[in-house]
């Protein structure tokens, strides 16, 4: 009987492992193909339909990309916008989410409705530009960080995490004479590491992938993030030039692949680093301590 249970457990485990491994493979394979293709020549790509190991290994594409200074600079810019922007996001989001999670805050349902409403109705590109302009943010990095300071979606979910914290914690802290500011950064924040890591990731990805705001708000090309570059090359390749009045050359496929690799790898590396915060019961330990 016991043995049988043991067996079923192992068989289920086996199925779960196989299932997850195949999902992981399906998710990874196309990206793997892009990476491989970026290391080979156009000639080989045309001759072979599926390349697992390139016959002619070539670094030409990467040499081409890094020959100019613009992509390196833009990677730096993207990193700066992402890091600084995410810090701003987290500050604004966690404070507001914390306050909204406390029952003592009057009118919190009204405020939440005000927030949710903005998820449905948006002013649009031109009015937002005018606001940014009136605040004299154009052509500064503030323009790509502040107008995105809080995502309503993340705010609501962050609040939900705070709501799940045990109420007794707050009550005893109040008894100890803590005010809400100290509770926020002494108790609520340290107990929500996984949530903060998650939203840091969400915000970081948002900043990293942002194209439209830098495109509209920053006219100095020295300030452009890598997305503008990436978009240019990927879109150009997919574009239809019958409309354009002249012939132009499109960068080779390996260059396009290499640009995708260069522009996405940095952000892909963020997740493995934040995963360590996803530890079960992290909260409990802190409560006891």
């Amino acid at each position: 009987m016991k043995n049988k249970q043991y067996m079923t457990r192992h068989i289920t485990d086996g199925f779960i492992y196989i299932f997850l491994a195949s999902i992981a493979f399906l998710s990874f394979f196309p990206f793997f193909q892009i990476v491989i293709n970026s290391f080979t020549t156009q000639k080989e790509m045309l001759e072979r339909s599926l390349i697992l190991i390139p016959h002619t290994f070539s670094l030409e594409a990467y040499k081409f990309i890094f020959s100019g200074s613009s992509i390196l600079r833009s990677l730096g810019v993207s990193t700066f916008i992402t890091v600084a922007g995410t810090c701003i996001n987290l500050l604004f989001t966690t404070t507001m989410a914390y306050a909204l999670a406390r029952k003592e805050l009057r009118a919190r349902r009204t405020i939440l409705f005000i927030v949710v409403f903005t998820m449905l109705f948006e002013g649009g590109m031109i009015p937002t530009y005018l606001v940014v302009k009136e605040l004299h943010m154009l052509n500064t990095y503030w323009a790509v960080m502040i107008p995105n300071a809080i995502s309503a979606f993340n705010l609501i979910l962050m609040r939900n995490f705070f709501l799940n914290l045990p109420e007794e914690l707050f009550e005893s802290a109040k008894m100890d004479g803590y005010n809400d500011l100290t509770i926020y950064y002494r108790i609520a924040l340290p107990l929500s590491k996984a949530a903060i890591a998650t939203f840091a990731l969400f915000y970081a990805v948002m900043h990293w992938n942002n194209f439209m705001m830098p495109f509209l708000y920053l006219s100095d090309s020295h300030m452009w993030p890598v997305q503008i570059w990436l978009r240019q090359i990927v879109m150009l390749a997919a574009a239809d030039f019958s409309d354009v009045g002249f012939a132009t050359t499109v960068p080779s496929q390996s260059i396009r692949m290499a640009v995708i690799v260069v522009a996405t790898t940095p952000i892909l590396l963020v997740y493995p680093f934040i995963q360590k915060h996803f530890v079960k019961g992290a909260m409990l330990g802190s409560v006891k301590g």
Partner: protein, 314 residues
């Protein structure tokens, strides 16, 4: 009697409110920057929505462009394709809620069962990669997989003795293909939030349930899933609120004359009829129509959820 007491009561009420404010002053201080943000960057631009009732000309601006009343809404509702657009939007959204929405939850539950840390982390890292693919690239991948001219899937079908299927050039398959794309791109990404939610579950709950003799499946159902419940509910309400928003990029990249009848939605229509034509007012009117339906759905879903004793959105 009531006359003499009224001012007194009013004053008492004020005093009480003031006291409430003073004891919780930090809460108000913490919430104000956020409110200011929403007012400036979200509500101020919303003034631009008036162009739905105007004939907006960028050069003339919001104030000088002429009023046209509800002309743009009339144009939308009287459009021959309105019913088709509505039906397609509805169905594709429904597909997404039924076939996509539960998948990240299931994957998160399964990942939670994995004891091998390295395996778990590797899977987690790999399944979120597709989220970084642009829709242009994804539609290219789907072309290679599904075309009738030597596509991978049709090769397989023919290898096993079937006859090739025109996946991309027929109406019947487009909605399933779109759902598949969403699944591939976002299911892994969607698990992140649930995995974070799982970390907040008190391990003592598992211990207690085990002592009660709960098996693996019951632990999953009664402890893990229960711990994710509020996150699931909120995401579901938000998903319902975005019922009308399917995003234009994904569908536009898959749309062709042969499947348009089943896949053209408001977001793709607005791109062709509004944005590509520089018809700002018409685009805004369509957007307002969509948002209004979204608002009604969110209010309804939130009401229902609260009725069942959940916290809901607001």
């Amino acid at each position: 009697m009531s006359y003499s007491h009224a001012p007194y009561n009013k004053r008492k009420k004020w005093l009480r409110m003031l006291k409430q404010l003073r004891t919780n002053i930090w809460l108000y201080i913490l919430v104000v920057p956020g409110i200011v943000y929403f007012l400036i960057f979200k509500y101020l631009p919303m003034g631009g929505l008036i162009i739905a009732f105007k004939d907006f000309n960028p050069f003339l601006g919001f104030l000088r462009s002429p009023w046209v009343g509800t002309e743009h809404f009339a144009r939308l509702f009287s459009n021959n394709d309105f019913i088709m657009l509505f039906r397609n939007t509805l169905l594709i959204s429904l597909y997404k809620i039924v076939f996509y929405f539960p998948v990240p939850i299931i994957i998160a539950l399964l990942l939670n069962e994995i004891r091998l840390k390295l395996f778990k982390r590797t899977v987690q890292t790999l399944i979120y990669i597709p989220h970084f693919f642009s829709w242009v690239v994804i539609s290219g991948i789907f072309y290679i997989l599904f075309t009738t001219e030597g596509g991978f899937v049709n090769h397989l079908i023919e290898y096993f003795g079937g006859s090739s299927i025109n996946f991309l050039g027929s109406k019947e398959w487009i909605r399933s293909l779109l759902t598949t794309q969403t699944l591939w791109r976002d299911a892994g990404w969607g698990t992140i939030l649930y995995l974070a939610a799982i970390t907040t579950i008190d391990p003592q709950l598992y211990e207690a349930a085990k002592i009660d003799g709960a098996g693996r499946f019951r632990l999953m159902w009664h402890v893990t899933l229960a711990g994710m419940r509020s996150t699931i509910v909120i995401l579901l309400i938000l998903q319902i609120g975005h019922f009308m928003d399917l995003g234009f990029e994904q569908i536009y990249n898959m749309l062709n004359p042969l499947n348009r009848e089943y896949a053209d939605v408001f977001d793709t229509y607005v791109y062709v009829a509004g944005i590509q034509q520089g018809q700002f007012s018409y685009s805004t009117a369509i957007g307002m129509f969509k948002s209004t339906i979204g608002l009604i759905l969110v209010l309804g879903a939130n009401y229902l959820v609260r009725k069942f004793g959940e916290e809901g959105l607001f």
